[in-house]
Amino acid sequence: MRLINGPLTSAAISEIIAKGGENQECGAHSLFLGQVRRDSVEGKSVKAIEYSAFEEMVIMEADKINKSILSEFDDVKALEIIHSKGVVKSGEISMLVMISAGHRDHASRACAKAVELIKERLPIWKKEIFEDDSVQWKENE
């Protein structure tokens, strides 16, 4: 698990995919990218999200998620989680989850499960910034 400043660039994402190729026993990688959505609230659009995190606890909880995924899905060989902190603009990528597994079934199911656990358990907060620079704290549903 890594927290990075700002968005995940396409170069960073490509590098992670390329690194997945080092796991030659894998036949499937399932990749989830979370993007900042230009939501509209009372007629105002979201231009960016500012993320903040309790970093020490994020790392500890992500480690628990990692162990839980590896024990539930025995075909999974590797798991990569990256999340942004700081400001990420609408249309930019703020989270990446990549699960590498022997076969596609475990890769895709483990990826969906990891995303759910990340949203539920990682102490990360987001503040929506609108076009007029007003802000609103947002919670996961």
Binding site: F54, M57, M95, P123, K127, N140
Partner: protein
Amino acid sequence: MEITVLFFGVLAEVTGTRTKHYRDIMAFGDLKHRIGDDYPEIVHYNFRVAVNNKIINDDPLLSPGDVVAYLPPFAGG
């Protein structure tokens, strides 16, 4: 004992601080009251509490140097 309290997300804004040190704390209830006195507005917000990075449900026994974190609902992803 001395306890460090961390505020995150909206609570860091409401309290105007991210870290505050409390001295002469006898128990968790005592700490809660001191925080409530300093920042009465936090009663209007939902949050959970973690002690040394673990979320607790009941009032914990505190030890000197413990770190207590006030965590608003998570919003990662």
